[in-house]
């Protein structure tokens, strides 16, 4: 197949194409607004698009660095699994027995919180916490046990169950782009509950208005849009919001 073998488009189709091409493009305001959004998103990586679209070059083989990292991780995991935990020898037999009893008992009888402190010394309480952690989520799924798990999560300074502000907004934006507006609104509501005055509050509010408008809640979107304009008079989202609530 070469260039000469391809028939040109017929004249009537060419006329249609020429006519269609005379439709004007976007306004310079739109162009400026998108440019500002791109610059802002580039500065805040949480709004970046993580998709296959990003791959603008042919697929390359797996990088050696990734392979090396994977090998190191596997070796480390093997070493950890084959080594006995140092705390295993320190656990008093009585405490181990207590855990067994806990699992056999009805959940309401497990002493937690203030009640537990009445029966145990501080060391025993620490051991109990250390031992309760490996219990599977299914075993901790209901009632008092769930409360105990929450308590442990609160006590452990390195454990956090809260998604970050950026990740929540990134998730909401993905849901918005996938046209799951209701889900996006739910995620944004969660963001508002957790980070009411967060640094990304402006982005959250803008996305909320757009999601409401897309979903058909025009009146509510318009009302929130007015509030947004008053609250953020210099926002770069204003043209997009005005377009959404128009």
């Amino acid at each position: 197949m070469n260039r000469q073998e391809i028939p040109e488009l017929p004249d009537d189709i060419l006329e249609v194409l020429a006519c269609a091409k005379s439709v004007g493009g976007p306004s310079s305001d739109t162009q400026d607004a998108i440019f500002a959004r791109v610059k802002q998103s580039a500065a805040a990586p949480m709004l970046e698009v993580a998709s296959a679209a990003e791959i603008a070059t042919p697929k390359s083989p797996i990088k050696p660095v990734i392979l090396l990292s994977a090998a190191v991780l596997v070796a480390a995991a093997t070493a950890v699994l084959s080594t006995q935990h140092p705390y295993d020898n320190d656990i008093p037999q009585e405490t181990t027995k207590t855990v067994t009893e806990y699992q056999a008992q009805p959940s309401a009888e497990i002493p937690i919180g203030a009640d537990a402190e009445d029966f145990e010394t501080q060391d025993e309480a620490d051991s109990r916490k250390t031992l309760v952690l490996p219990v599977t989520p299914r075993q901790l799924a209901t009632g008092v046990e769930r409360n105990a798990r929450r308590e442990l999560a609160t006590d452990a300074p390195t454990t956090t169950l809260l998604p970050s502000e950026q990740s929540l907004l990134r998730r909401a934006r993905r849901q918005f782009l996938a046209q799951n507006y209701l889900t996006a609104l739910s995620t944004l509501r969660r963001h508002r509950l957790l980070y009411r005055n967060g640094v990304l509050a402006e982005e959250r509010d803008a996305l909320s208005i757009r999601a409401l408008a897309k979903r058909g809640s025009t009146e509510r979107a318009r009302k929130l849009g007015q509030t947004f304009l008053q609250r953020y008079p210099g926002s770069i989202h204003i043209p997009v919001i005005q377009n959404a609530i128009r």
Partner: protein, 181 residues
Amino acid sequence: MMQVALAPEFPVVERPDFESVYREQFEHIWFTLRRLGVHERDLDDTTHDVFLVVNRRLMDFDPTRPVRPWVTGIAYRVASDERRRARHRREIIGDIPETIDGAGPHRALEAKEAQRLVLDALTQLPMDQRAVLVMHDLQGMTMPEIMEALDAPLNTLYSRLRLGRRKFTLAVRKQRGREHV
């Protein structure tokens, strides 16, 4: 006596900055995305996504190569991604910008109608054929540029163009016949 060949002096090509790329390619990308099937209401977001990728990958771009095929390739991938996400929904032609270059209301209406007809016919083409047709016949790109943008063999592209043109012609005529009945 051995002669030492001096290294030829290559002209130093400066890497384009993001803003100049954006200003030069914005309208091209906007129309390409629209013609590749991105809905009117999603154009802002999708264009934003394309230039976000451009901004991030600008340092990897070979400045000796033309910018347009590279940016168009990114736009094609973003549009394909967008279509995959929106596969469950039926594509509906949205509002078309009212601005017509220096034309009266009758001409504007005609252009709007032609635009709707073209977009409607394009939706009936597979994405690969649609992409080649849009880039070649609507965006005025050359085949080598399209080859660079889509990273596909030249013969494959010609084949897609031939099939795409045939289907597009049939779709436009069918649509017009339906309207004239």
